[in-house]
Symmetry: C3
Subunit: 421 residues, 3 copies
């Protein structure tokens, strides 16, 4: 996952344009990706697909010829979606166009002007302070013109028509946690799921933030009733604790599943209520859709100083953090795939003699308890997910117990839930 | 409010009589008041309106001619509802009739004998200790005879027949927090509401405690089904934290509204469950009525040492505490008046582009979040009160956001709730 | 209770055999006991009644003739249900058959081999360490042969057919807390109930653990629908806090009753959720039965070091702890017998004048509040148990208030609940 992040990091992405397409090319190398191009000007819900932005180069040159801000040095130096400009300005004229972070004088902020035609540069506050009066050349060699908005979809068909949506925004340039981390974890999860039988159809969206989600929603209304669970992945590689932001519904199955997976992740984790601010769950959870979609994060948007700055670089994410996020999703995927299963005890009166069946004596304490929990709750009204939640045990342990008991003839699975494809 | 409290403080009030009528006269000067006189002996529910008590003067004179306790000095010196007496007694005979507070030797306790014919005096324990053997003259120049129980009602008609009940007891002599504070805050709230359009009919009761509430209930059973919310105001001027005692129902709309108003009051506040002891909510919440009436207090009856003593004087209440209580009621009144309104998003799919409508960029962060919350919850199933509670925001901020969104054509109000007059 | 525990302590009990029968004989001396004998080989649910085990003597004799482990010294020295053996073995051969507690070198562990034919000895680790190479004589003079499983039932008929089940296991040899304490408290409770009129039929089971409960369930399926409340008593004499383990249902009436009784016990107490491990509630709460049965304990199985060791001796239990457990059960019994009663106020509108009826002035504060609570909640929808729970008061205080109010004509009892016999 780190290698993929390293490959993606230098690309100058935005909500449209060549950098986004190159990113999708690389993702498409890892997982089978359906690519979509939606023309500028297309009306999508309350929004309009904007002109396409492509940047070749942008810099500010000081009177002494030195470069104050240069996209050759860092993609963040230009305000994303800046209109083209080629001019010589006094410092006073230029100053309002320069964005810095006084409290972090060596960091470059990340700024955008997607929906208001404007331009500007972002730079280290220390550099701004060193600037002296004089004539500055500014160049933004970009095109902002009709084109298309690009996104990719990896649809992994399962035996059920019901779908699981995994959505990651991939519009940010050279920011590692936000959201190369989400991209690489989604890719890793998709690759794992590709190798297994699946009940659910898993749909991974690689889209630009907000406008991408809005565009996908506008074009896929017929898919929405099939979405049973949804996860937005955003900022899952940093040192922060894992964090599940519940769906708007608050009590969707995915909320129970993620809470359970986090509880047994071995990491500190937070579960918090939905708020209508954050990542693309805002769109999926708008009242006209109200999909069961929450957001898995580490740290919260805007709540850590590195957020939307050049300090969110490859050193800001860590392999073990990516792995931890993937592990939680792996556990959640098992609970999604099998959590609705209902298994019924064939010996519901009193405890069966487990010793006589060789199920008990060699088992670890936790596994013995899992056997007892499954037997006790296998009354036809508890799903495997209900059992895991009530037992306070990892889903995988409960499922393994159910399979072992079924092997011994003590349990049978009731008809599988879900709508066939 | 302090000026009105100062004017009312010296009056010798009881549950009947001239002091109570004079108090209602002064209240009637501030707000339009319907006055009622209910004859002694009238049967009201399980009670009987008692004889009317009027005191001219009461004192205890020491052998040396000095006055040990004299109502000319403080109204609390006589036990309220004392029968007339004019006698000379030895200290031993007198002693059982003298009530003091040994733990607060400079305070005078407040005692009553409404429903048992008796008499007595209240005085500073220090004075009692200084009393020496000898003959004491006691005079209680009072009448206890058939008359009437007086109370006042200020009914502010609204466009709905539904009513809000605000009830304050005004029977206590020279006690500032209990309950001049309740009277003056109720008067201030009524005056504010008089100047505004009202959906609800607001009914302010100025009544003697217990017997007044019982009397009003007995005479107004046809009003009760219209009471949608009710607040007893008692002891709202002292230094203590604000405190809402829930209605017997526990989950009435007024309980949600007061909890929300307290949460955003900027003060420390407590919300506690109903108990069948306290102020007149005891009567309103008796099982045969079970009205949605709770009690707003600062500090709890009997729980602060100044309670029912001469130390509950004008210095014991503070203008900013009265203002704080009024502010909470003002916020609650807005939530009562508009909390049931249901507004529906006209753009429920995805977020609307707020920036394009000029709604977003200039707004403060909290106001932006309020816009997002209202849009997100405006699905036709959430009232404005539901939205404020879920957003964890002051009701006024949510309502302002709804009005701004409606102005932009993003929201429409569904038909107003309630029964027209 | 201590005297009965002392009498029972020396008996060598197991899940079958003479020691168990002798124990039932002694219990039958205290309360009327129906005795049952179920032949070995009888199929009971998923289990089979095992052969009967009777031990005369067992010991290990060292080369020097000293006794390393001897049941004449302590019943725990032999593994319960050991097969007969009479042999001379080297220390190496014997060693795997010797069980000790290295962390408590002076205690003898308690081990069993009910369902696997085997034999062994338990001893102090210090003795094991002192053993030297040589030839050891081992004798287990026991019979393991077809016989019967014994149990006793004390059924105290009430006026209703509905039943309360009290179940104690009485199969453990010379362990005081586990479960002579349960036996003697159950006997004491049964003796108290014998002397009173009863609405419920109380059924006390004195049974061997697991197999006894399974056997009783298999033979009494027709009784099960009548069981309204159930309590397993296990380990109620030690120094630990009282602990109620909820029934599988979690919200059964007995769960509310025990929580209330513990709350007002004057002791520290814990209420915890059901888990499918522990005592015979495992069988009663298996999904095919799902009876409303929880478990009253002090300390938790396996959670204190003395559990299942010789340190669980008569000094490990205390008279005041047995009394405290009995007191909680006495309070629970009153709540069981009367908790469903519904009393209705005859004066529901406003508070009745308690002073006029002499009910108020002399009462203690708590009793006054109980009067107010009962009057307030006596609306025909609250049972006495509901009232006690909402008032946060002991059941007995609420019931006494109801009886006093009924005496004054303010309350009437609605028709009694339950099915007559």
């Amino acid at each position: 996952m780190m290698r993929l992040a390293e490959e993606l990091y230098p690309i100058c992405r935005s909500i449209t344009g060549a950098g986004l397409r190159q990113t999708l090319d690389i993702i498409g190398r890892e997982v089978p990706l359906d690519r979509h191009e939606v023309p500028s000007g297309t009306r999508v819900l309350d929004w309009t697909v904007p002109d396409e932005w492509n940047l070749r180069r942008a810099f500010v040159e000081a009177p002494d010829g030195s470069r104050i801000a240069d996209t050759a040095e860092h993609n963040l130096h230009v305000v994303s979606y800046s209109a083209p400009v080629d001019a010589v300005l006094s410092l006073d004229e230029l100053r309002p166009r320069l964005h810095t972070l006084p409290e972090h004088p060596d960091w470059i902020p990340y700024r955008t002007t997607y929906y208001r035609r404007d331009w500007g540069f972002c730079l280290q506050h220390r550099r701004l302070q060193a600037m002296t009066a004089g004539r500055y050349r500014v160049l933004i060699d970009a095109t902002l013109a009709p084109g298309a908005l690009s996104y990719g979809e990896a649809v992994l068909r399962g035996s059920r028509a019901d779908e699981v949506l995994v959505s990651v925004h991939c519009c940010h340039p050279s920011l590692a946690n936000d959201n190369l981390s989400g991209i690489v974890v989604a890719v890793a999860l998709a690759k794992e799921l590709l190798g297994k039988p699946r009940a659910f159809t898993w749909r991974f969206l690689f889209i630009p933030g907000t406008i991408g989600a809005v565009t996908w929603l506008a074009r896929n209304e017929e898919v929405l009733p099939r979405i049973r669970h949804g996860i937005v992945l955003a900022g899952v590689g940093s040192r922060h604790d894992l964090r599940w932001k519940r769906s708007r519904r608050g009590n969707a199955a995915i909320d129970r599943i993620m809470a359970l997976s986090l509880r047994h992740s071995g990491e500190e984790a937070v579960v918090e209520d939905f708020v209508p601010y954050g990542y693309d769950e805002r769109q999926y959870c708008s009242p006209g859709f109200d999909l069961p979609v929450g957001c898995l994060m580490r740290g919260k948007w805007g709540a850590y100083p590195e957020y939307h700055t050049s300090a969110d670089d490859l050193g800001f994410i860590a392999p073990e953090r990516l792995e931890g996020s993937l592990a939680v999703l792996r556990a959640a995927a098992e609970a999604i795939e099998h959590g609705e299963e209902v298994w019924k005890s064939l010996n519901p009166k009193g405890e069966p003699q487990l010793g006589a069946r060789g199920l008990y004596s060699d088992a670890a304490d936790d596994d013995r308890m899992a056997l007892l929990w499954v037997l006790n709750l296998a009354d036809g009204t508890h799903s495997l997910l209900d059992m895991a939640a009530r037992a306070g045990m990892p889903f995988a342990r409960i499922r393994a117990a159910a399979l072992a008991l079924a092997e011994s003839g003590l349990l049978e699975r009731l008809s599988a839930p879900g709508h066939p494809c």
